[in-house]
């Protein structure tokens, strides 16, 4: 018997509005001061009424367009009813049968191209069933002292705008699920619709997992679906799915219980990252009846094609498109293109500015993915506060391209520029030239001194010459080194060529 893993995700994304979705309260994350960002509306006080925050709707549409979804011309609000202390009205304002968007898709690269011999990367298309808007609940805080004190409720978060994204069960491994979430997060941050801060709960995920087991006779049998709730990190999501897959496989081999059979109903579980296992939350045999009905306090929302087009026009290029474009435009490897795009929109913008002005995308990519990355990490800086701005880096790379300095010298200049910045000096292209001059880093264009040095080096290295001529090509390295040492600023490539020519005589 073999099996296929079937995974569908439900993702809650907090939209980055200044105010809540149905009232004017701030959405700032503020766990240390409970219940200060509240008003009669989000407290659910008698008589208070919700009014839609237009900006939340706008960000929702942007999100949905990013997911390739269709935007409904008519959408309405529904009440999802259940009792819970963090839900002050006894219902959540959500969307039921007419979500504002539906039917999209997101392509996720699931295999590195290097792993399959540099061929086209493998891509998984994940269909989006729907994306709808809703309000977040508050947060219950239970007494964990074990002394049975009262639980408390913080409603600062109640009413924060959320988009709930529901995928079709198109993912086939825990790794794919993680990659999908990473791509989704990247897209949402490019679109600036959410900060996707998982520690603050801005992005939360539920995963529906089961297996399609191929029986010896060739028929396929689905195992009971398990919904893993409230996964708040990509790593936990991956771990939880892996755990569930293994557990379901083992359980199926032992019991043979299939979906829908006795004992085969859908279960809801949580994930305990400390123990690396899932635990049962509630049995869904008798599914909760939320008694959805249209919220009479809110009017339906109509969205015209013109409105959708104008929102689309305001959207930035999506990461997947941009990855492909910079790959083509600057002749990058898929790996470099991915590394640049995946670091976020600011890094991609930085890269493109440098690549365009210095005229060498490959060089720009190398610097960004190596020297810059290392420096930012060491200095604990992000691209936006990194002191070497694109025009300065571009000037530096331009000197390399024009063979005015070596890469090694450029690194020295780069380090000095950072030191300059730390001592408060302004950085500029002029400063680069100044450093090149004062440190004698300019490549020696005049070949006379190089030839003199070669002659001199060869005259005292008979053994190395003999080694080289007997086939030890590495011996030339030592000779190059000695020439470089005596002629500061010599281009190693020139030295090598001239040495080879001399030795071949």
């Amino acid at each position: 018997m073999s099996y296929e893993i079937i995974i569908g995700l439900e993702i809650h994304v907090q939209l980055q509005t200044k105010t809540k979705i149905f009232c004017g309260c701030s959405t700032t994350f503020n766990p240390d001061h409970p219940n200060v960002q509240t008003c009669p509306v989000c407290l659910g006080l008698p008589g208070a009424l919700p009014v839609l925050n237009e900006h939340a709707y706008y960000l929702g549409v942007k999100t949905a367009l990013g997911l390739g979804c269709q935007i409904a011309p008519y959408t309405k609000w529904d009440r999802k009813q259940y009792f819970y202390p963090d839900l002050p009205k006894g219902y959540q304002i959500s969307q039921f049968d007419l979500p504002f968007s539906h039917h999209g898709q997101v392509d996720v690269v699931t295999g590195d191209s290097s792993a399959n011999g540099g061929n086209e990367p493998t891509v998984r298309r994940v269909r989006i069933l729907r994306a709808h808007l809703e309000e977040d609940a508050g947060k219950n805080m239970h007494d964990e002292s074990g002394r049975g004190r009262d639980s408390k409720v913080d409603l600062n978060r109640a009413g924060t705008p959320l988009v709930e994204i529901v995928t079709e069960p198109d993912l086939r491994s825990a790794d794919e699920a993680r990659r999908f979430l990473e791509e989704l997060r990247l897209m949402l941050t490019y679109l600036e619709v959410s900060d996707c801060n998982m520690q603050e709960g801005s992005l939360r995920c539920d995963a529906n997992v089961n297996l399609h087991v191929t029986q010896p006779d060739g028929t396929k049998v689905p195992t009971p679906i398990v919904e893993i709730k409230n996964l708040n990190s990509f790593r936990f999501t991956e771990q939880a799915i892996e755990y569930e897959v293994a557990r379901q496989w083992e359980s199926f081999q032992q019991t043979g219980i299939r979906m829908g059979a006795k004992g085969g109903h859908k279960r809801t579980v949580g994930f305990d990252p400390n123990r690396g296992s899932t635990y049962s939350l509630r049995e869904k045999e008798e599914a909760a009846d939320y008694r959805y009905f249209p919220d009479p306090d809110l009017v339906p929302v109509m969205t015209s094609v013109e409105k959708i087009n104008s929102i689309r026009a305001e959207m930035c290029e999506l990461p997947a498109t941009r990855r492909q474009r910079i790959l083509d435009e600057f002749q990058l490897s898929p790996y470099d293109a991915a590394v640049i795009i995946d670091q976020g929109r600011a890094v991609a913008d930085y890269f493109e500015e440098v690549a365009k002005t210095c005229g060498d995308g490959k060089q720009a990519a190398n610097w960004l993915t190596q020297d810059m990355q290392a420096a930012m990490k060491e200095r604990d800086e992000t691209i936006s506060n990194f002191p070497i701005r694109p025009h300065v880096l571009s000037a530096l790379l331009d000197r390399i391209n024009k063979k005015q300095i070596t890469i090694k010298s450029a690194r020295e200049v780069f380090t000095t520029l950072l030191e300059d910045a730390d001592s408060g000096h302004p950085l500029s292209a002029n400063r680069i030239d100044e450093l090149v001059k004062s440190r004698g880093l300019a490549i020696v264009q005049d070949t006379g001194p190089i030839e003199t040095a070669i002659a001199e080096v060869l005259s005292r290295n008979a053994k190395a010459i003999a080694d080289f001529k007997s086939g030890n090509e590495k011996a030339i390295g030592a000779l190059i080194g000695q020439v470089m040492k005596s002629v500061k600023g010599a281009d190693p490539q020139t030295v090598r060529e001239k040495l080879l020519a001399k030795l071949g005589e």
Partner: protein, 490 residues
């Protein structure tokens, strides 16, 4: 103190004397407070009266007027408030044990508008719990009695607001009308009561019973009072998405202009079986008055009105079951002192103790109507019928300007008479309920008395946002009659 006989003053006379500073608001307010002190122990129209605060408000308006500053539309006029409207810093109980100690931190939009109009908020009035009822008997704080006969109910759910005006304890009051809760008690108490078009008055701060039906409206002794109070509270409010962006006509100035060529429709279905003969006679006499004034009278049909009560009790209870979910004992309102040790037991005990029987009955009905497997049969079906009821009116208003008929099938019944028979009780709203389902405006004006001296009401209905036409039509009849001058309390 000069004698102010509030029992004989029309609204025009009262406002005229205040404006000319012939009387002060303090004098008017004091007189109202005296009547309340004297008569309310037997009527029980009020749940809360803060006399000192009322006098303070009156003093402030008097100072403003004396200083020659511009004053609002209702400057110095006392207005009693149904206890379903939130008043900042003052208890708002909704007639329920659930909200016995609840004090809202904000004013309802209508209250803000009244303050801006310089009205005097004289007190909060009794009501059926959460506006669910037709008799006032469902108040957790005891029933209100009809000023015309203390053994009888004043109607509901705005029982206290209607009784307060009928007993001249306040010249004006605000109520809310979800299925007839203003028009029905106005009819049974012999005063003017109006339900505006859905969306005309902001519901912000009106504690919800059935959100798609609830509407705030005025009670007054005469049409001018109702017109003026309606003008003061109407208008768009950005805090209520269902409040409409439409200019507010100056009802207080136009109400007195008769309508030429008025076409009045008589709904055949509202004169069918179950209508008391004395009421039918009084209403037909009133229609005859319109004919004598040159109006054209014709029959109209509202074929789906027979489904109105059933439709209403599905739509209203479905919404109510959701609107009242917030009273769970967690954040505010009543929490049981004794309950087991689980959250669910806390909910159950708090709600069991906090809500009265009728509220529980409607919540259960609503929960059932919205439940999986039943919603298509009940809630969704009711919405379909609701649209048909609206189409009936749309068709009728193609042919006529105003529909005229009885407010209630019978005059005020005895306290306790229908409490054990909810269905009989529900039938007392049979003529008023359709207007809420259709969202149209309606007014109840006095049109006579039964042989046992109980008031009879005439209901006029008009197309959406035709309040102006409705008030003018009402005034045409009022001018020809003297029912408004009759007073329950000497």
């Amino acid at each position: 103190m000069r004698d102010i006989s509030l029992t004989t003053l029309t609204f025009a006379e009262l406002l005229g004397r205040l404006n000319s500073q012939e009387v002060t608001s303090v004098e008017v307010t004091t007189r109202c407070l005296e009547i309340i002190r004297r008569n309310d122990p037997s009527i029980h129209a009020f749940l809360n009266v803060d006399a000192d605060d009322a006098i303070k408000q009156a003093e402030a308006v008097d100072r403003k007027r004396a200083a020659g500053e511009p004053v609002g539309l209702l400057a110095g006029v006392p207005v009693a408030i149904k206890d379903v409207l939130c008043t900042k810093g003052q208890p708002t109980t909704c007639g329920s044990r659930m909200l016995k100690n609840y004090v809202p931190p904000y004013d309802a939009h209508a209250i803000t508008k009244l303050r801006q109009a310089d009205a005097i908020l004289i007190g909060k009035t009794n009501m059926d719990e959460f506006a669910m009822g037709s008799s006032g008997e469902n108040s957790a704080y005891g029933p209100t009695r009809n000023p015309w006969d203390l053994e009888r109910i004043p109607g509901g759910s705005s029982s206290g607001s209607a009784a307060a005006v009928a007993a001249r304890m306040s010249p004006l009051s605000l109520g809310s009308d979800t299925g007839g809760s203003i028009r029905q008690p106005a009819g049974l108490c012999g005063i003017v009561g109006m339900k505006p078009t859905y969306g005309r008055v902001s519901r912000y701060g009106l504690v919800a019973y059935a959100s798609s039906l609830d509407q705030i409206g005025p009670f007054a002794t005469d049409v001018q009072g109702a017109a003026t109070l309606l003008e003061a509270i109407s208008g768009h409010d950005p805090r209520d998405s269902t409040s409409v962006r439409q200019p507010v006509p100056a009802y207080s100035r136009s109400f007195d202009q008769p309508l030429a060529g008025l076409r009045i429709g008589v709904p055949v279905e509202h004169f069918a079986e179950g209508l008391d003969s004395e009421i039918e006679r009084a209403v037909r006499d009133a229609i005859a008055v319109y004919r004598s004034l040159g109006a054209e009278i014709k029959d109209v049909h509202l074929p789906h009105s027979k489904y109105a009560i059933a439709t209403y009790y599905l739509v209203a209870t479905s919404e109510a079951s959701s609107n009242l979910a917030r009273y769970d004992g967690v954040h505010y309102g009543h929490r049981a002192e004794e309950f087991g040790n689980s959250l669910v037991e806390m909910y159950e005990a708090s709600r069991a103790e906090g809500f009265g029987d009728e509220v529980k009955r409607r919540i259960m009905l609503g929960v059932f109507s919205l439940s999986a497997g039943y919603a298509d049969k009940y809630y969704s079906k009711a919405l379909q019928v609701r649209r048909l009821i609206r189409s009936d009116f749309d068709a009728a208003f193609e042919k006529v300007d105003v529909i005229a008929g009885p407010v209630t099938p019978t005059a005020a019944f005895k306290i306790g008479e229908k409490t054990s028979d909810p269905l009989a009780m529900y039938l007392s709203d049979i003529y008023t309920i359709s207007a809420n389902l259709a969202g149209i405006p309606g007014i109840s004006i006095p049109c006579g008395f039964t042989s046992s001296n109980l008031p009879i009401g005439l209901q006029l209905l008009a197309a959406p946002f035709e309040e102006d036409r409705l008030l003018r039509a009402a005034r045409m009849y009022e001018r020809e009659s003297d029912w408004s001058a009759h007073c329950a309390i000497e």
